[in-house]
Symmetry: C2
Subunit: 212 residues, 2 copies
């Protein structure tokens, strides 16, 4: 599967070649299955060179995504504090990135994901593995429910970004962050932790008492 | 402001000319402010001809939008029944349209709205005036809160469509409609009717007792 693009170490385009290979590999295999080794093979370079340029797989992924913010810095601010307000902090962090100068590339990324299947895959992987997974882990969510809970959270966050920054739906487009935090935060909290109807309750392990 | 495109009644392109004029006028002025008379003037035809081809302003708007479903048929099914389950019926109706053959043009419309400001305006007007307004009216929502409630509902519906049909975020992409109705329905219900924090309570009129 690995395609050699034919650049050699030291070539000034090596960094760009690695980034292109990383985008391909992350989109094709997903973040977890994409190894530095596979990305290096696709780029036709030594894995050590990938480490040299980008440090870790996380950082390579951020660079490949042109990510508008570093989850390693943002996620801890969401997790710190009362677990019952994690939904509000998640919306607050999300809005503060999208309302900042980093919002412009974020909007471009969202627009691109809508028309480009590969960008959609990268965006999906980014949100799922870099943002939502640590939040769900922190809340000790039942792993069987984590994917649905995570994708529900993502659906509301994408919709909020669409309404505020792309479709410019009023009053969301110009609302104070506090208004959106208090309106949407409880939705996030419910998707993350409340029992979802028709789903087993939110517990990591359940002991079923023997019958009789 | 009206631009005469120069078609005359009876021209075989008259219908297309009226539709183009309608798209321009609805996007520029919004649904409420766009009159049949203004659309006819933009198209360079007699208003009677617009009525002849399209019947009502509502129907002209649906045709101009290439709307995937007729709200006049769908909205009553959302409103009928227990008001406490209007959120679930709204999600159910939404999913049944997007999961049907009408979903293909709906996805195309959403993609187009993301890259095209005018389509975004038409989509916004369509959802706001044709779908959400009757639902909010039916629930007797405080008019001062209706725009925020409506746009919150829209944000989650857009996000759900994005997650299920555009970004294909699992498990939302392939979940049974019932799973999404029971997960997202209560969010809709809350956005429509529950007190929004930091907002005055959900009442059409309030009487403040005199002091002392």
């Amino acid at each position: 599967m690995a395609r050699r693009i034919g650049r050699r170490p030291g070539n000034p385009d090596t960094r760009a070649t690695i980034l292109a290979a990383a985008r391909t590999t992350f989109a094709e295999r997903g973040f977890d299955q994409a190894s530095i080794r596979a990305i290096a093979a696709t780029a036709g370079v030594d894995p050590a060179l990938v480490h040299h340029y980008f440090g870790s797989k996380d950082k390579l992924f951020l660079a490949a995504m042109n990510a508008p913010a570093d989850p390693a810095k943002v996620v801890p601010t969401i997790l710190a504090g009362d677990p019952d307000q994690i939904g509000e902090r998640l919306v607050g962090a999300f809005l503060s990135i999208w309302d900042s100068p980093a919002g412009t590339p974020a909007v471009a990324l969202l627009r691109s994901a809508v028309s480009n299947e590969w960008t959609a895959r990268l965006l999906r992987e980014f949100l799922t593995t870099q943002v939502l997974r640590p939040v769900l882990d922190h809340l000790d969510v039942d792993p069987a429910q984590a994917p649905l809970r995570g994708s529900l959270v993502a659906s509301q966050l994408f919709g909020l970004a669409m309404a505020r920054h792309v479709l410019r739906l009023e009053p969301i487009a110009t609302a104070a962050p506090e208004t959106l935090i208090s309106s949407v935060g409880p939705t996030m909290q419910r998707y993350l932790t409340a029992p979802l109807e028709g789903q087993p309750p939110h517990r990591r392990s359940r002991v079923t008492p023997p019958e009789g």
